[in-house]
Protein backbone atom coordinates (compact mmCIF):
# COMPACT_ATOMS: atom_id res chain seq x y z
CA UNK A 1 0.00 0.00 0.00
CA UNK A 2 1.32 3.46 -0.90
CA UNK A 3 0.61 6.50 1.20
CA UNK A 4 1.85 9.08 -1.26
CA UNK A 5 0.19 9.85 -4.54
CA UNK A 6 2.08 11.36 -7.46
CA UNK A 7 0.53 14.43 -9.07
CA UNK A 8 0.00 12.72 -12.43
CA UNK A 9 -1.83 9.79 -10.82
CA UNK A 10 -5.63 9.70 -11.18
CA UNK A 11 -7.48 10.92 -8.10
CA UNK A 12 -10.09 8.22 -8.67
CA UNK A 13 -9.27 4.99 -10.49
CA UNK A 14 -11.69 2.16 -11.24
CA UNK A 15 -10.17 -0.90 -12.90
CA UNK A 16 -12.56 -3.47 -14.34
CA UNK A 17 -15.00 -2.99 -11.45
CA UNK A 18 -18.13 -5.11 -11.16
CA UNK A 19 -20.82 -5.19 -8.51
CA UNK A 20 -23.33 -7.98 -8.20
CA UNK A 21 -26.14 -7.81 -5.64
CA UNK A 22 -27.37 -11.13 -4.31
CA UNK A 23 -25.39 -14.35 -4.50
CA UNK A 24 -23.24 -14.27 -7.68
CA UNK A 25 -24.42 -16.95 -10.06
CA UNK A 26 -27.82 -17.38 -8.41
CA UNK A 27 -31.12 -16.57 -10.10
CA UNK A 28 -31.65 -13.52 -7.83
CA UNK A 29 -28.20 -12.07 -8.61
CA UNK A 30 -28.37 -8.58 -10.11
CA UNK A 31 -25.32 -7.16 -11.91
CA UNK A 32 -25.42 -3.40 -11.24
CA UNK A 33 -21.93 -2.60 -12.56
CA UNK A 34 -20.12 -4.69 -15.18
CA UNK A 35 -16.35 -4.38 -15.73
CA UNK A 36 -16.19 -0.60 -15.48
CA UNK A 37 -12.90 1.20 -16.17
CA UNK A 38 -12.81 4.86 -15.20
CA UNK A 39 -10.13 7.40 -14.26
CA UNK A 40 -10.85 10.83 -12.84
CA UNK A 41 -7.87 13.15 -12.72
CA UNK A 42 -7.20 15.53 -9.88
CA UNK A 43 -9.18 18.80 -10.13
CA UNK A 44 -11.62 17.37 -12.67
CA UNK A 45 -15.39 17.78 -12.41
CA UNK A 46 -16.91 14.61 -13.73
CA UNK A 47 -20.63 14.34 -14.36
CA UNK A 48 -21.83 10.73 -14.35
CA UNK A 49 -24.98 10.63 -16.41
CA UNK A 50 -27.40 7.81 -16.91
CA UNK A 51 -30.98 6.68 -16.68
CA UNK A 52 -32.49 5.60 -13.38
CA UNK A 53 -31.24 2.15 -12.33
CA UNK A 54 -28.11 2.21 -14.51
CA UNK A 55 -25.82 1.77 -11.49
CA UNK A 56 -24.74 5.39 -10.92
CA UNK A 57 -25.40 5.26 -7.17
CA UNK A 58 -23.63 1.89 -6.87
CA UNK A 59 -20.49 3.41 -8.46
CA UNK A 60 -20.89 6.39 -6.14
CA UNK A 61 -21.12 4.13 -3.07
CA UNK A 62 -18.05 2.14 -4.16
CA UNK A 63 -15.98 5.32 -4.63
CA UNK A 64 -17.27 6.57 -1.23
CA UNK A 65 -16.18 3.31 0.41
CA UNK A 66 -19.72 2.49 1.53
CA UNK A 67 -20.00 -0.58 -0.75
CA UNK A 68 -17.35 -3.16 -1.65
CA UNK A 69 -16.95 -4.11 -5.33
CA UNK A 70 -17.60 -7.77 -6.15
CA UNK A 71 -14.55 -7.77 -8.42
CA UNK A 72 -12.04 -5.26 -9.79
CA UNK A 73 -10.17 -2.46 -8.07
CA UNK A 74 -11.32 0.90 -6.77
CA UNK A 75 -8.61 3.36 -5.74
CA UNK A 76 -9.07 6.89 -4.46
CA UNK A 77 -5.81 8.82 -4.06
CA UNK A 78 -4.07 5.46 -4.44
CA UNK A 79 -5.92 3.77 -1.60
CA UNK A 80 -8.84 1.38 -1.29
CA UNK A 81 -11.79 3.46 0.02
CA UNK A 82 -13.57 0.38 1.40
CA UNK A 83 -10.62 -1.46 2.96
CA UNK A 84 -8.79 1.66 4.18
CA UNK A 85 -12.07 3.29 5.21
CA UNK A 86 -10.73 5.31 8.15
CA UNK A 87 -7.75 6.66 6.23
CA UNK A 88 -10.15 8.83 4.19
CA UNK A 89 -11.31 10.78 7.24
CA UNK A 90 -11.41 14.42 6.10
CA UNK A 91 -10.22 13.51 2.58
CA UNK A 92 -13.60 12.86 0.99
CA UNK A 93 -16.94 14.63 1.45
CA UNK A 94 -20.37 13.68 0.16
CA UNK A 95 -23.45 15.68 -0.79
CA UNK A 96 -26.40 13.33 -0.91
CA UNK A 97 -29.59 13.43 -2.96
CA UNK A 98 -31.56 14.55 0.08
CA UNK A 99 -30.01 16.82 2.67
CA UNK A 100 -29.62 14.16 5.41
CA UNK A 101 -29.29 16.76 8.17
CA UNK A 102 -29.37 15.48 11.73
CA UNK A 103 -32.74 16.77 12.99
CA UNK A 104 -31.48 17.20 16.55
CA UNK A 105 -28.70 19.57 15.46
CA UNK A 106 -29.05 23.20 14.46
CA UNK A 107 -27.82 24.33 11.02
CA UNK A 108 -24.41 25.35 12.33
CA UNK A 109 -24.02 22.15 14.38
CA UNK A 110 -24.79 20.13 11.24
CA UNK A 111 -22.08 21.98 9.32
CA UNK A 112 -19.66 21.31 12.19
CA UNK A 113 -20.24 17.54 12.01
CA UNK A 114 -17.36 16.64 9.68
CA UNK A 115 -14.96 18.91 11.56
CA UNK A 116 -16.00 17.26 14.81
CA UNK A 117 -15.01 13.89 13.34
CA UNK A 118 -11.62 15.36 12.51
CA UNK A 119 -11.15 16.52 16.11
CA UNK A 120 -11.02 20.25 15.20
CA UNK A 121 -11.25 22.39 18.39
CA UNK A 122 -14.74 23.75 19.12
CA UNK A 123 -13.99 27.45 18.54
CA UNK A 124 -12.19 26.75 15.27
CA UNK A 125 -14.94 24.51 13.87
CA UNK A 126 -17.63 27.01 14.90
CA UNK A 127 -15.79 29.79 13.02
CA UNK A 128 -15.35 27.58 9.94
CA UNK A 129 -19.00 26.47 9.97
CA UNK A 130 -20.11 30.08 10.33
CA UNK A 131 -17.96 31.07 7.37
CA UNK A 132 -19.44 28.38 5.11
CA UNK A 133 -23.01 29.15 6.15
CA UNK A 134 -22.41 32.81 5.33
CA UNK A 135 -20.82 31.89 1.96
CA UNK A 136 -23.95 29.92 1.11
CA UNK A 137 -26.25 32.75 2.13
CA UNK A 138 -27.46 31.25 5.37
CA UNK A 139 -26.20 33.92 7.75
CA UNK A 140 -28.83 34.47 10.44
CA UNK A 141 -30.06 30.86 10.24
CA UNK A 142 -27.20 29.30 12.21
CA UNK A 143 -29.36 28.28 15.15
CA UNK A 144 -32.39 27.14 13.17
CA UNK A 145 -33.21 23.45 13.32
CA UNK A 146 -33.64 21.61 9.97
CA UNK A 147 -37.44 21.48 10.28
CA UNK A 148 -37.51 25.29 10.29
CA UNK A 149 -35.57 25.57 7.00
CA UNK A 150 -36.87 25.25 3.44
CA UNK A 151 -35.70 22.40 1.17
CA UNK A 152 -33.24 24.68 -0.63
CA UNK A 153 -31.82 26.02 2.63
CA UNK A 154 -31.39 22.51 4.01
CA UNK A 155 -29.55 21.42 0.87
CA UNK A 156 -27.29 24.48 1.19
CA UNK A 157 -26.52 23.44 4.78
CA UNK A 158 -25.54 20.00 3.50
CA UNK A 159 -23.27 21.57 0.84
CA UNK A 160 -21.70 23.75 3.55
CA UNK A 161 -21.20 20.59 5.65
CA UNK A 162 -19.34 18.93 2.77
CA UNK A 163 -17.15 21.95 1.96
CA UNK A 164 -16.35 22.74 5.62
CA UNK A 165 -14.10 19.67 5.97
CA UNK A 166 -11.93 21.00 3.10
CA UNK A 167 -11.81 17.51 1.61
CA UNK A 168 -10.07 17.23 -1.76
CA UNK A 169 -12.64 14.89 -3.23
CA UNK A 170 -16.34 15.73 -3.42
CA UNK A 171 -18.94 13.16 -4.28
CA UNK A 172 -22.41 14.44 -5.13
CA UNK A 173 -25.40 12.17 -5.69
CA UNK A 174 -28.05 14.20 -7.55
CA UNK A 175 -27.98 16.85 -4.82
CA UNK A 176 -30.37 19.26 -6.54
CA UNK A 177 -32.89 16.80 -7.96
CA UNK A 178 -35.41 17.33 -5.16
CA UNK A 179 -35.45 21.14 -5.55
CA UNK A 180 -37.46 23.38 -7.82
CA UNK A 181 -35.66 24.43 -11.04
CA UNK A 182 -34.95 28.01 -9.99
CA UNK A 183 -33.46 27.04 -6.59
CA UNK A 184 -31.56 24.16 -8.20
CA UNK A 185 -30.12 26.46 -10.87
CA UNK A 186 -28.93 28.98 -8.31
CA UNK A 187 -27.39 26.31 -6.07
CA UNK A 188 -25.76 24.59 -9.05
CA UNK A 189 -24.02 27.82 -10.06
CA UNK A 190 -22.87 28.40 -6.46
CA UNK A 191 -21.66 24.81 -6.27
CA UNK A 192 -19.60 25.02 -9.50
CA UNK A 193 -18.05 28.29 -8.35
CA UNK A 194 -17.07 26.82 -4.96
CA UNK A 195 -15.61 23.64 -6.50
CA UNK A 196 -13.52 25.65 -8.99
CA UNK A 197 -12.44 28.21 -6.39
CA UNK A 198 -11.30 25.49 -3.99
CA UNK A 199 -9.69 23.22 -6.63
CA UNK A 200 -11.67 20.10 -5.72
CA UNK A 201 -12.00 16.87 -7.64
CA UNK A 202 -15.71 16.23 -7.95
CA UNK A 203 -17.87 13.36 -9.14
CA UNK A 204 -21.39 14.54 -9.76
CA UNK A 205 -24.16 12.06 -10.41
CA UNK A 206 -27.14 13.26 -12.38
CA UNK A 207 -29.81 12.09 -14.80
CA UNK A 208 -30.23 15.52 -16.37
CA UNK A 209 -28.26 16.31 -19.56
CA UNK A 210 -28.55 20.07 -18.94
CA UNK A 211 -27.23 19.71 -15.41
CA UNK A 212 -24.32 17.55 -16.61
CA UNK A 213 -23.41 20.15 -19.25
CA UNK A 214 -23.63 22.96 -16.72
CA UNK A 215 -21.60 21.24 -14.00
CA UNK A 216 -19.01 18.96 -15.52
CA UNK A 217 -15.90 19.53 -17.54
CA UNK A 218 -16.22 15.89 -18.47
CA UNK A 219 -19.37 13.84 -18.94
CA UNK A 220 -19.51 10.06 -18.78
CA UNK A 221 -22.76 8.50 -19.95
CA UNK A 222 -23.53 5.09 -18.48
CA UNK A 223 -25.65 2.33 -19.89
CA UNK A 224 -27.13 -0.47 -17.85
CA UNK A 225 -25.35 -2.34 -16.23
CA UNK A 226 -23.04 0.65 -15.61
CA UNK A 227 -20.78 0.50 -18.67
CA UNK A 228 -19.40 3.61 -20.32
CA UNK A 229 -21.40 4.42 -23.44
CA UNK A 230 -20.01 7.89 -24.11
CA UNK A 231 -17.17 9.89 -22.58
CA UNK A 232 -16.61 13.52 -23.50
CA UNK A 233 -14.46 16.32 -22.07
CA UNK A 234 -14.93 20.03 -22.69
CA UNK A 235 -14.06 23.36 -21.06
CA UNK A 236 -15.18 26.98 -20.75
CA UNK A 237 -13.92 27.63 -24.29
CA UNK A 238 -16.32 25.06 -25.77
CA UNK A 239 -18.83 27.14 -27.71
CA UNK A 240 -22.60 26.81 -27.71
CA UNK A 241 -22.72 24.94 -31.04
CA UNK A 242 -20.32 22.28 -29.77
CA UNK A 243 -22.29 21.98 -26.54
CA UNK A 244 -25.48 21.43 -28.52
CA UNK A 245 -23.71 18.69 -30.47
CA UNK A 246 -22.65 17.03 -27.21
CA UNK A 247 -26.20 17.33 -25.89
CA UNK A 248 -27.57 15.77 -29.04
CA UNK A 249 -25.02 12.93 -28.96
CA UNK A 250 -25.83 12.20 -25.28
CA UNK A 251 -29.52 12.18 -26.15
CA UNK A 252 -28.88 9.64 -28.92
CA UNK A 253 -26.80 7.42 -26.62
CA UNK A 254 -29.44 7.47 -23.88
CA UNK A 255 -32.23 6.77 -26.37
CA UNK A 256 -30.64 3.49 -27.54
Amino acid sequence: MRDTVTSDEAAIHLDHVSKVFGKPGSAEAYRAVDGLDLDVRSGQMLALLGKTGCGKSTIFNMIAGLTEPTSGTVRVSGRDPFGDFDSFRGKMAIVFQNDRLLPWRSAIENVELGLEMLGVPAAERRASAQLWLTKLGLGGHENDYPHALSGGMRQRVSIARAFATNANILLCDEPFSALDESTAGRLRAEFVRLVKENGKTAVFITHSISEALEIGDRIVVLKRPAKIAYDVSFDAATDQRERELIRSRIGDVLAV
Binding site: F85, A93, I94, F96, L102, W104, M117, Y145, H147
Partner: protein, 271 residues
Protein backbone atom coordinates in the same frame (compact mmCIF):
# COMPACT_ATOMS: atom_id res chain seq x y z
CA UNK B 1 -63.63 54.03 1.17
CA UNK B 2 -64.27 51.54 3.85
CA UNK B 3 -61.68 50.22 6.20
CA UNK B 4 -61.97 47.25 8.44
CA UNK B 5 -59.69 46.39 11.28
CA UNK B 6 -59.78 43.30 13.36
CA UNK B 7 -59.04 43.55 17.03
CA UNK B 8 -59.05 40.72 19.47
CA UNK B 9 -61.02 41.38 22.59
CA UNK B 10 -58.16 40.58 25.00
CA UNK B 11 -54.40 41.07 25.22
CA UNK B 12 -51.93 38.25 24.38
CA UNK B 13 -51.00 38.04 28.06
CA UNK B 14 -54.62 37.49 29.07
CA UNK B 15 -54.96 34.85 26.32
CA UNK B 16 -51.85 33.08 27.56
CA UNK B 17 -53.15 33.12 31.14
CA UNK B 18 -56.50 31.79 29.99
CA UNK B 19 -54.82 28.98 28.04
CA UNK B 20 -52.59 28.10 31.02
CA UNK B 21 -55.63 28.05 33.31
CA UNK B 22 -57.49 25.83 30.87
CA UNK B 23 -54.53 23.42 30.68
CA UNK B 24 -54.28 23.33 34.47
CA UNK B 25 -58.01 22.75 34.87
CA UNK B 26 -58.03 19.88 32.34
CA UNK B 27 -55.12 18.14 34.03
CA UNK B 28 -56.49 18.61 37.57
CA UNK B 29 -60.16 17.92 36.87
CA UNK B 30 -59.91 14.09 36.72
CA UNK B 31 -58.20 14.03 40.13
CA UNK B 32 -60.80 16.36 41.64
CA UNK B 33 -63.60 14.10 40.41
CA UNK B 34 -61.98 10.95 41.88
CA UNK B 35 -61.29 12.71 45.20
CA UNK B 36 -64.87 14.01 45.37
CA UNK B 37 -66.36 10.53 44.71
CA UNK B 38 -64.13 8.94 47.38
CA UNK B 39 -64.95 11.66 49.93
CA UNK B 40 -68.64 11.32 49.15
CA UNK B 41 -68.41 7.53 49.64
CA UNK B 42 -66.62 8.04 52.99
CA UNK B 43 -69.78 9.74 54.30
CA UNK B 44 -71.83 6.56 53.82
CA UNK B 45 -69.38 3.66 54.30
CA UNK B 46 -67.45 2.49 57.39
CA UNK B 47 -64.01 4.02 57.97
CA UNK B 48 -62.16 0.76 57.25
CA UNK B 49 -63.70 0.64 53.76
CA UNK B 50 -63.62 4.30 52.67
CA UNK B 51 -61.72 6.47 55.17
CA UNK B 52 -62.04 10.24 54.87
CA UNK B 53 -59.35 11.75 52.68
CA UNK B 54 -58.61 14.19 55.49
CA UNK B 55 -57.43 11.20 57.57
CA UNK B 56 -55.36 9.98 54.60
CA UNK B 57 -53.84 13.46 54.26
CA UNK B 58 -52.74 13.46 57.93
CA UNK B 59 -51.27 9.98 57.53
CA UNK B 60 -49.31 11.17 54.52
CA UNK B 61 -48.04 14.13 56.52
CA UNK B 62 -47.03 11.75 59.32
CA UNK B 63 -44.98 9.66 56.84
CA UNK B 64 -43.26 12.76 55.49
CA UNK B 65 -42.44 14.14 58.91
CA UNK B 66 -41.32 10.90 60.57
CA UNK B 67 -37.68 10.11 59.76
CA UNK B 68 -38.13 6.33 60.14
CA UNK B 69 -41.22 6.17 57.93
CA UNK B 70 -39.78 8.45 55.28
CA UNK B 71 -36.67 6.25 55.25
CA UNK B 72 -38.97 3.38 54.23
CA UNK B 73 -40.20 5.46 51.29
CA UNK B 74 -36.64 6.32 50.30
CA UNK B 75 -35.48 2.71 50.48
CA UNK B 76 -38.32 1.67 48.14
CA UNK B 77 -37.43 4.47 45.74
CA UNK B 78 -33.79 3.38 45.83
CA UNK B 79 -34.82 -0.23 45.07
CA UNK B 80 -36.92 0.89 42.09
CA UNK B 81 -34.16 3.07 40.65
CA UNK B 82 -31.42 0.47 41.26
CA UNK B 83 -33.52 -2.27 39.63
CA UNK B 84 -34.38 -0.08 36.64
CA UNK B 85 -30.77 1.05 36.22
CA UNK B 86 -29.56 -2.58 36.37
CA UNK B 87 -32.15 -3.74 33.84
CA UNK B 88 -31.41 -0.77 31.56
CA UNK B 89 -27.65 -1.38 31.57
CA UNK B 90 -27.97 -5.14 30.98
CA UNK B 91 -30.86 -4.71 28.50
CA UNK B 92 -29.06 -1.93 26.59
CA UNK B 93 -25.95 -4.09 26.35
CA UNK B 94 -27.94 -7.10 25.13
CA UNK B 95 -29.75 -4.94 22.56
CA UNK B 96 -26.43 -3.63 21.20
CA UNK B 97 -25.11 -7.17 20.79
CA UNK B 98 -28.40 -8.35 19.24
CA UNK B 99 -28.49 -5.55 16.69
CA UNK B 100 -24.91 -6.35 15.62
CA UNK B 101 -25.36 -10.13 15.34
CA UNK B 102 -28.34 -11.91 13.85
CA UNK B 103 -27.20 -15.18 15.47
CA UNK B 104 -27.23 -13.60 18.95
CA UNK B 105 -30.59 -12.02 18.18
CA UNK B 106 -32.03 -15.37 17.08
CA UNK B 107 -30.69 -16.98 20.25
CA UNK B 108 -31.71 -14.32 22.79
CA UNK B 109 -35.09 -13.16 21.45
CA UNK B 110 -36.99 -16.37 22.38
CA UNK B 111 -35.35 -16.42 25.84
CA UNK B 112 -36.36 -12.81 26.51
CA UNK B 113 -39.89 -13.52 25.27
CA UNK B 114 -40.01 -16.49 27.65
CA UNK B 115 -38.82 -14.30 30.56
CA UNK B 116 -41.47 -11.72 29.69
CA UNK B 117 -44.17 -14.33 30.28
CA UNK B 118 -43.06 -15.14 33.84
CA UNK B 119 -45.22 -13.33 36.44
CA UNK B 120 -43.56 -11.08 39.03
CA UNK B 121 -44.83 -13.34 41.81
CA UNK B 122 -42.98 -16.34 40.31
CA UNK B 123 -39.75 -14.33 40.35
CA UNK B 124 -40.44 -13.64 44.05
CA UNK B 125 -40.66 -17.38 44.72
CA UNK B 126 -37.52 -18.10 42.66
CA UNK B 127 -35.60 -15.33 44.45
CA UNK B 128 -36.58 -16.70 47.88
CA UNK B 129 -35.42 -20.20 46.90
CA UNK B 130 -32.22 -19.15 45.11
CA UNK B 131 -30.85 -16.26 47.19
CA UNK B 132 -30.37 -15.26 50.82
CA UNK B 133 -29.83 -11.50 51.00
CA UNK B 134 -33.10 -9.54 51.00
CA UNK B 135 -31.70 -6.58 49.04
CA UNK B 136 -30.20 -8.85 46.39
CA UNK B 137 -33.49 -10.75 46.11
CA UNK B 138 -35.37 -7.50 45.49
CA UNK B 139 -32.75 -6.28 42.99
CA UNK B 140 -32.93 -9.61 41.15
CA UNK B 141 -36.74 -9.50 40.96
CA UNK B 142 -36.72 -5.89 39.72
CA UNK B 143 -34.12 -6.60 37.05
CA UNK B 144 -35.75 -9.80 35.80
CA UNK B 145 -39.22 -8.26 35.52
CA UNK B 146 -38.09 -5.16 33.59
CA UNK B 147 -35.15 -6.57 31.59
CA UNK B 148 -37.08 -7.98 28.58
CA UNK B 149 -39.04 -4.76 28.06
CA UNK B 150 -35.90 -2.60 28.25
CA UNK B 151 -34.03 -4.90 25.84
CA UNK B 152 -36.81 -4.99 23.27
CA UNK B 153 -37.39 -1.24 23.51
CA UNK B 154 -33.69 -0.37 23.03
CA UNK B 155 -33.43 -2.98 20.26
CA UNK B 156 -36.43 -1.47 18.49
CA UNK B 157 -34.93 2.01 18.79
CA UNK B 158 -31.59 0.86 17.37
CA UNK B 159 -33.31 -0.86 14.46
CA UNK B 160 -35.49 2.15 13.71
CA UNK B 161 -32.51 4.47 13.25
CA UNK B 162 -32.49 6.14 9.84
CA UNK B 163 -30.21 4.25 7.43
CA UNK B 164 -29.74 7.43 5.40
CA UNK B 165 -28.52 9.42 8.39
CA UNK B 166 -26.30 6.56 9.51
CA UNK B 167 -24.72 6.40 6.04
CA UNK B 168 -24.22 10.17 6.06
CA UNK B 169 -22.41 10.06 9.42
CA UNK B 170 -20.37 7.04 8.24
CA UNK B 171 -19.23 9.05 5.20
CA UNK B 172 -17.25 11.24 7.63
CA UNK B 173 -15.50 8.11 8.96
CA UNK B 174 -16.32 8.56 12.68
CA UNK B 175 -14.68 6.61 15.47
CA UNK B 176 -17.03 4.23 17.33
CA UNK B 177 -17.27 6.67 20.24
CA UNK B 178 -18.09 9.63 18.01
CA UNK B 179 -20.63 7.59 16.04
CA UNK B 180 -22.37 6.74 19.31
CA UNK B 181 -22.27 10.34 20.57
CA UNK B 182 -23.39 12.19 17.44
CA UNK B 183 -25.75 9.64 15.92
CA UNK B 184 -26.81 6.63 17.98
CA UNK B 185 -27.42 8.29 21.37
CA UNK B 186 -29.53 11.22 20.08
CA UNK B 187 -31.45 8.93 17.71
CA UNK B 188 -32.48 6.42 20.36
CA UNK B 189 -32.94 8.87 23.26
CA UNK B 190 -36.69 9.43 22.66
CA UNK B 191 -37.36 5.68 22.81
CA UNK B 192 -35.14 5.28 25.87
CA UNK B 193 -37.07 7.96 27.76
CA UNK B 194 -40.35 6.30 26.78
CA UNK B 195 -38.95 2.95 27.94
CA UNK B 196 -38.06 4.50 31.31
CA UNK B 197 -41.53 6.00 31.63
CA UNK B 198 -43.25 2.69 30.89
CA UNK B 199 -40.92 0.60 33.06
CA UNK B 200 -41.12 3.06 35.94
CA UNK B 201 -44.84 2.33 36.26
CA UNK B 202 -44.22 -1.42 36.07
CA UNK B 203 -41.35 -1.26 38.57
CA UNK B 204 -43.36 0.68 41.13
CA UNK B 205 -45.99 -2.07 41.05
CA UNK B 206 -43.46 -4.91 41.16
CA UNK B 207 -41.37 -3.43 43.99
CA UNK B 208 -44.26 -3.77 46.42
CA UNK B 209 -44.50 -7.48 45.65
CA UNK B 210 -40.71 -7.82 45.81
CA UNK B 211 -40.64 -6.24 49.27
CA UNK B 212 -42.80 -9.08 50.56
CA UNK B 213 -39.79 -11.44 50.38
CA UNK B 214 -38.69 -10.62 53.89
CA UNK B 215 -37.89 -6.92 53.75
CA UNK B 216 -38.11 -5.21 57.13
CA UNK B 217 -38.77 -1.85 55.59
CA UNK B 218 -40.13 -0.17 52.50
CA UNK B 219 -43.56 0.66 51.17
CA UNK B 220 -44.40 -3.01 50.45
CA UNK B 221 -43.55 -3.99 54.01
CA UNK B 222 -45.61 -1.09 55.39
CA UNK B 223 -48.58 -2.05 53.20
CA UNK B 224 -48.43 -5.56 54.66
CA UNK B 225 -48.57 -4.01 58.17
CA UNK B 226 -51.62 -1.91 57.22
CA UNK B 227 -53.34 -5.01 55.85
CA UNK B 228 -52.78 -6.85 59.14
CA UNK B 229 -54.16 -3.82 61.07
CA UNK B 230 -57.06 -3.45 58.61
CA UNK B 231 -56.04 0.21 58.31
CA UNK B 232 -57.33 1.52 54.96
CA UNK B 233 -56.20 5.13 55.59
CA UNK B 234 -52.64 3.86 56.24
CA UNK B 235 -52.72 1.60 53.15
CA UNK B 236 -53.84 4.53 51.01
CA UNK B 237 -51.23 6.88 52.50
CA UNK B 238 -48.41 4.40 51.77
CA UNK B 239 -49.73 3.72 48.28
CA UNK B 240 -49.81 7.44 47.60
CA UNK B 241 -46.09 7.65 48.41
CA UNK B 242 -45.36 5.47 45.38
CA UNK B 243 -47.85 7.39 43.26
CA UNK B 244 -46.16 10.70 44.21
CA UNK B 245 -42.78 9.24 43.34
CA UNK B 246 -43.95 8.01 39.92
CA UNK B 247 -45.58 11.39 39.20
CA UNK B 248 -42.42 13.30 40.17
CA UNK B 249 -40.10 11.11 38.07
CA UNK B 250 -42.54 11.14 35.12
CA UNK B 251 -42.62 14.95 35.41
CA UNK B 252 -38.82 15.08 35.43
CA UNK B 253 -38.66 12.80 32.36
CA UNK B 254 -41.22 14.97 30.56
CA UNK B 255 -39.12 18.04 31.39
CA UNK B 256 -36.05 16.32 29.90
CA UNK B 257 -38.10 15.44 26.80
CA UNK B 258 -39.30 19.01 26.37
CA UNK B 259 -35.74 20.32 26.60
CA UNK B 260 -33.94 17.59 24.66
CA UNK B 261 -36.50 17.32 21.85
CA UNK B 262 -37.12 21.01 21.22
CA UNK B 263 -35.77 20.42 17.70
CA UNK B 264 -38.96 18.59 16.76
CA UNK B 265 -41.42 20.31 14.47
CA UNK B 266 -44.83 20.82 16.03
CA UNK B 267 -47.78 20.38 13.72
CA UNK B 268 -50.73 22.68 14.27
CA UNK B 269 -53.04 19.78 13.53
CA UNK B 270 -53.08 17.10 16.18
CA UNK B 271 -53.39 13.39 15.35
Amino acid sequence: MSETTSQSGSSPRANWLLAALRRFATSVLPFVVVIAIWQFASLFFPRFLFPSLIDVFWRCLEIFSSGAMFADVLSTIFRILAGLAGAFIVGGGLALVMVRSRAVDNFLSPILTLLQGIPALSWVVFAIIWFHGVEFRIFFIMVMTTLPAFTFQVLGALRAMSRDLMEMVFSFRPTRMKLFRVMIAPAILPDILTAWKVNLGNASRVVVVAELVGATGGVGYQLLQQQQLFDMAGALAWTLQLVFFVLIVQGALTLIENTAFRYRAVSERAI
